[in-house]
């Protein structure tokens, strides 16, 4: 992808005796859109704040462009942040907000004027120079916050759940907007969110975090299709996680029936966790299915129907565009490529740490 721009080495951080990050290692490539994804309290925001300089790690180093910046104050770092609740300066106009960083750097008036115009155009808010931030909608305020950050030409833009306070439609629009901005500016975005859909839509690279550990990192497709553990599978989209037995390479026994799969190297007759996405379960007539079940619940979701199918005492979540009413006996098939096999964690601890394979 390119060269490393930011490297976090053995970062640990705790608050009031509670460990937030434990020996975190992460490399961020130049010109990539990296998303730190995880539930609240997983350490993603702390990681971002350490990169931004608002927190100092207890242990470890932050390397930026080859230089150690661990103890550098935020105003001396070549990166800018877009904060969760916009954090605009309410006593200034939109133009003054955008000019703030440039005035601190003693840029000339004409330079600042051009930059404000350029930045407002970039975020589609031309002509808003003299408005007060408080007179703008949430989405507009967020755009101003982005404009205020990018006029400083940072090498990296840090975004801390910037869309969290917006409504669904606005959030989706802004996702595409951010993607476009990233392309136009050609800089690195580090984005923090708990919203897996947001992460999948925008990122080049997703880092899934939980309890201060990186669970898995990779492209959105890899994270979605090949989750490495139950946490990732469960967190990224809906999934069925079923304790099963790996009979031998490319054959797994799920809920008592044998399924062909594509995974190898898990040993013979070993317990494994199987992940099957709800949309990958194919409902057929009972005589044609590898497994047999009964539909117990049905919900219309717009694009598809969501169904619960009971198979041998266990409920499976199924998404299908075809309707099978409650009580229908169905057969279940799954394509070998859609069966994802994961090692069973021996303890909870291992589940948290098993990040790099």
């Amino acid at each position: 992808m390119g060269k490393d721009l930011i490297t976090l080495e053995h970062i640990s951080k705790s608050y009031d005796g509670q460990l937030i990050l434990d020996d975190l290692n992460l490399s961020i490539y130049e010109n990539s859109f990296v998303t730190l994804l995880g539930p609240s309290g997983c350490g993603k925001t702390t990681t971002l704040r350490i990169i931004g300089g608002f927190e100092t790690p207890d242990k470890g180093r932050v390397i930026f462009d080859g230089k150690d910046i661990t103890n550098l104050s935020p105003n001396k770092r070549q990166l800018n942040t877009v904060f969760q609740k916009y954090a605009l300066f309410t006593h200034m106009t939109v133009a003054e907000n955008i000019a703030f960083g440039l005035k601190i750097k003693n840029k000339s008036d004409s330079y600042i004027k051009d930059k404000i115009k350029y930045a407002l155009k970039l975020v589609n808010l031309e002509g808003y120079e003299n408005r007060s931030p408080e007179s703008l909608s949430g989405g507009q305020q967020q755009r101003i916050a982005i404009a205020r950050a990018i006029v400083n030409e940072p090498k990296v833009l840090l975004l801390d759940e910037p869309l969290g306070a917006l409504d669904l439609k606005m959030r989706q629009d802004m996702q595409y907007e951010l993607k476009r901005l990233k392309e136009e500016l050609g800089i690195t975005f580090i984005y923090v969110t708990h919203d897996q859909e947001e992460a999948l839509t925008m990122s080049d690279h997703i880092v899934v975090m939980n309890q201060g550990y990186i669970q898995q990192e990779g492209s959105p497709e890899k994270i979605y299709n090949e989750p490495e553990n139950a946490f990732v599978a469960d967190f990224i989209g809906d999934s069925n996680i079923i304790r099963s037995t790996m009979i031998r390479d490319e054959l797994v026994e799920i809920l008592g029936a044998k399924f062909a799969c594509v995974d190898k190297g898990f040993g013979e007759n070993k317990p494994v966790d199987v992940v099957i996405r709800p949309e990958d379960i194919e409902l057929v007539s009972p005589e044609n299915g590898t497994l047999k079940g009964v539909v117990t619940d049905l919900t219309f979701k717009g694009v598809h129907y969501e169904m619960d199918v009971e198979v041998g005492g266990r409920e499976l979540l199924v998404h299908s565009t075809k309707l099978s009413p409650v009580g229908t006996h169905v057969g279940i098939n799954v394509d070998p490529y859609n069966i994802q096999i994961m090692n069973v964690p021996e303890s909870e601890d291992e589940e948290a740490i098993s990040e790099t394979i």
Partner: protein
């Protein structure tokens, strides 16, 4: 809750306060204005108000304004750093400290001022201690310095609370954003923190300046009878000379100053953000 929102019951529920305000605020105010603009025979006159221009009265007014300004400034210089420390502290701990600062307010204001009198007296507590330590004694009772001390002591909480309030309302990320955009600590304070706390500063100034300007209790207890403030003169007109017309006239002059202060606060409050 519906009862309180109902259009018909609202006037009924507010009537006790309306009656209170009418009897104890509006009527007395009307009387002050009536007395202030009339002579003893009931004729309209500006003379009561114009009396302020006479040397003795003018001197007292200027002295009052000067001491009130000094007290307000001292309060501001003490309260602002404290407000900053308090607002940066964790919630559980700062409630204790805020309580500590408003605790004196639970005691009667006259009692507290009397205490200062006994502390500062020529042979008072402070000088007795200083003497026993063979240190030079201080002699500030019955001086303007003692009055300023009394004002600062009594009115400081009114400066601390609004400043603390406005500082603690500033989103931590707004400060972080300024740092993030390249501002150092001083630039962040001057361009962000201070302007955003301005509404609190202004209401603190008003809440200290107005009582300091109009006080007569502090000045008569700590200033002896030598240092007269405009408040003392007005008090004397009412209680000793029984000249309600002149007393009311001078009160109106004082009210004008209070109005000016409030207008300034309202105007700058509109500009300074929330």
């Amino acid at each position: 809750m519906k009862l309180f929102k109902n259009k018909n019951t609202a006037p009924l529920l507010s009537s006790p306060y309306m009656a209170w305000a009418l009897i104890f605020i509006l009527v007395p105010l009307g009387m002050v204005i009536y007395y202030g603009f009339t002579t003893e025979d009931g004729f309209f006159t500006f003379e009561n108000i114009a009396t302020i221009a006479k040397p003795g009265y003018m001197k007292a007014l200027i002295r009052s304004i000067r001491l009130a300004l000094i007290s307000t400034l001292v309060c501001l210089l003490l309260a602002y750093p404290l407000g900053m420390i308090l607002s940066s502290m964790k919630l559980t701990r700062n409630t204790y400290i805020v309580t500590l600062f408003i605790l004196p307010m639970w005691m009667n204001f006259l009692l507290r001022t009397l205490t200062w009198m006994t502390l500062l007296e020529g042979k008072g507590v402070i000088n007795t201690v200083l003497e026993s330590l063979h240190l030079p004694t201080i002699n500030i009772i019955n001086t303007p310095a003692a009055i300023v001390l009394g004002m600062v002591y009594n009115f400081l909480p009114f400066m601390i609370l609004p400043i603390y309030n406005s500082l603690s309302k500033i989103d931590e990320n707004v400060i972080n954003a300024a740092r993030d955009l390249g501002a150092d600590s001083l630039q962040t304070f001057l361009k962000i923190t201070f302007p955003l706390s301005l509404p609190g500063v202004l209401s603190g100034i008003t809440m200290v300046f107005i009582p300091a300007l109009t006080t007569f209790a502090i000045s008569s207890m700590l200033g002896g009878s030598k240092i007269l403030l405009i408040g003392n003169i007005i008090e004397q007109e009412f209680t000793q000379l029984y000249d309600w017309h002149l007393g009311s006239g001078l009160s109106i002059v004082l009210m004008i100053f209070i109005f000016i202060n409030m207008i300034i606060e309202a105007l700058s409050g509109n500009q300074g953000g929330k």
